[in-house]
Symmetry: none
Subunit: 403 residues, 2 copies
């Protein structure tokens, strides 16, 4: 259905703001009397809910738990299952790496090799991010230049890293070096088609140098390459929905990276929600139609199992909400990319509560912004990827279909 | 979307129980003050609803009335429209026939032939099941063996029967003998491709013998063959969803047959709901992940137009519910395969109320299990084929999608 939305989108000055509280949805805590969102003191969100239309979003499909990458792609109107942007690209986006069209992005794992060069642990004993950073830094420091390319290696998390090779004529049609087994050597990054010869030569040189640089180490002394992805530009929000100069505000590079993949300009260097709201105020009256403000800590505290801390982050956002409303966006959406109930300490499959505030909202009976109140909301239960169409509609940015 | 659920399913010891009350949903009776389910005294279901998430399932699609076959296939996560298991196979499953990979199953109608062998009634005046059974029995008793195959003929209902031919090298690529017209002879079961020669010869022999055996009868003196289906194994619940050793409990062979088509082990010889629950208790702690307990009489009494009797069956299930809950399944689903309002004396298009009880349920405000209360349920309105994904999710048996 998304192509239909694209074809109906028109230019307009109406501004849309997505306020995304990562992992917003929760499960009721019987002692506390509700979910984190319900128990939080949120007079401003509740007042807004009374003037809005509320409901639920399923990030992917009922029952499916979404990662943050597909969760956000869905919110922005991109089919999170069909949009195959490659693990390497999401990884690069995830560490906030600013990709160009000349980049080959590769997910890799640190692994352990024995003295015969056989893999003893495909995840290097699941090293922590700190040791990972030390290894990446040692490699980047000692790496001799490889002709015709630039190399970037970044820690992702635990044993995972992202390698980016920048240059001309790089193909991603290569053998993955992870043999998915231990007791055997890694595979060679052989080309699977003629165009991949250069990439193969470059990666063989890189891996050989990595072996030399880390030769004194017993742990995390090599890298396995899996998930090659040549940078493929996704059609941007501007191309698809005629949203001029969309802006992304986030404290975590990954979310700026996801925004960048679909043509958002990132605001770098933000550390707190207050700074994010300040950045929004600063840029709001520029010639921009779309704003994505991402709040990370609702998810982090959910994953920590910290109900109270997650609740407090929601309260902090609520306190800043009047500043946001004072900007008078045509459409303000508040929702999450998925649920992260602190009882589960993990992302969950439960749909996200959503609120759409707009002069065009068909206001419903929901008197609070929360999971139980949203059941009575006028939006019902929707796929997250329908949110963009609904938002454009509430901004008056979609033409009529048919006569 | 189902392939996505399949790809995310993981092994686990969490047990899922589907308690399917056939034709559960109803229409409100204004004198009684509600539907059969609402008027029934169901303290146990109501208490469970208060700790569950409730909503609705559309068996096929909003507005479509489902038969029992597709209704159940949907509940088990099989697209009831796309899953082409052949009318012959559903028929054989419907009479509880245990199919093997060597079987060719055929739907057939008894018909009337005049003395010239021309069809005078393609449905033999819609004979009743009793006469049908007498004819099938006469045929099976007098039938001379046909080389290389075994033949089974079973009454389905009214003028309909199911013929199963078991042997090697049988193809279903044959001309249907029903000419869809009267005043003409039946067609010959000619092969439509070379591989179907054997089946064609066998069926010609069989039909010729049937003609001889029933030559003294005026009514129901021949069979028209329609809907050939070579047995095609559907991917089982174990293959698709990693549900180990699923078990089916039903009093009617048809439902055991449907379970068998998707790899459930049937418990035979059960006559009452109490016996079904007893069988559940007996097998529950075996190494099994999925249980299907089917209650038939809600539907039968609905089709009889007997509101009170349908209500009483629901009350009987409610009385047995504590025994079921005492087994502590990780997920208990209560729903129907379609609605059968006794006012309509037939299956109807109304969505089925559904309840999912699980520690991971986002409990909603529904204080009763009934059609009106389910409107306030947190599940909203879903396709029946999304139930399996939702159930696996509530059992913690699905991995996250994407990072």
């Amino acid at each position: 259905m998304n192509h239909l939305i694209d074809s109906l989108a028109v230019e307009s000055d109406a501004k849309i703001l997505f306020l995304i509280l990562d992992g917003l949805g929760g499960l009721p805590d019987l002692d506390q009397g509700g979910t984190e969102l319900e128990v939080a003191t949120t007079p401003n969100m509740d007042a807004l809910a009374r003037k809005s239309v509320c409901g639920f979003l399923d990030p992917i499909h009922p029952g499916i738990t979404s990662g943050s990458g597909p969760g956000h792609l869905g919110l922005f109107g991109y089919d999170p299952v069909e949009t195959d942007i490659g693990r390497g690209l999401l990884g690069a986006a995830g560490v906030g790496f600013p990709l160009t069209d000349r980049d080959l992005a590769i997910r890799c794992n640190f692994c352990n090799l024995d003295d015969k060069g056989h893999i003893t642990d495909r995840r290097a004993g699941r090293i922590d991010s700190e040791l990972n950073r030390a290894r990446c830094s040692a490699i980047m420091k000692a790496l001799r230049p490889i002709e015709g390319v630039e190399i970037f290696l970044s820690t992702e998390k635990d044993h995972r890293a992202v390698l980016v090779v920048r240059g001309d004529n790089l193909s991603d049609d290569l053998v993955e070096t992870d043999p998915q087994a231990t007791g055997v050597p890694a595979r060679h990054p052989d080309p699977l088609s003629e165009g991949a010869n250069k990439a193969s030569t470059v990666l063989a040189d890189f891996l050989s140098q990595v072996g030399e640089i880390l030769s004194g180490e017993m742990q995390a002394n090599s890298l396995l390459l899996r998930g090659y992805a040549k940078h493929r530009r996704l059609p941007s929000l501007t191309e698809r929905f005629k949203l001029k100069n969309p802006l992304a505000m986030a404290t975590m590079p990954m979310y700026l990276g996801i925004g960048r993949l679909i043509g958002m300009e990132p605001v770098e260097g933000l550390g707190t929600i207050e700074e994010e709201v300040e950045a929004l105020r600063e840029h709001f009256h520029e010639e921009r139609d779309f704003f994505f403000l991402h709040v990370k800590k609702t998810d982090s505290y959910g994953e920590d199992g910290n109900f109270d801390a997650k609740k407090k982050v929601i309260e902090e956002v609520d306190r800043l909400l009047p500043d946001i409303l004072a900007l008078s966006p045509s459409v303000l959406v508040i929702t999450g990319d998925h649920s992260t109930p602190s009882q589960m300490r993990a992302h969950s499959f439960h749909p996200s509560p959503v609120l759409i505030a707009s002069d065009l909202a068909r206001v419903d009976g929901a008197t609070q912004f929360g999971e139980t109140a949203c059941i009575t909301g006028g939006l019902g239960r929707n796929r997250a990827q329908d949110l963009m169409g609904l938002s454009l509609a509430h901004a008056g940015r979609l033409r009529k279909f048919g006569a």
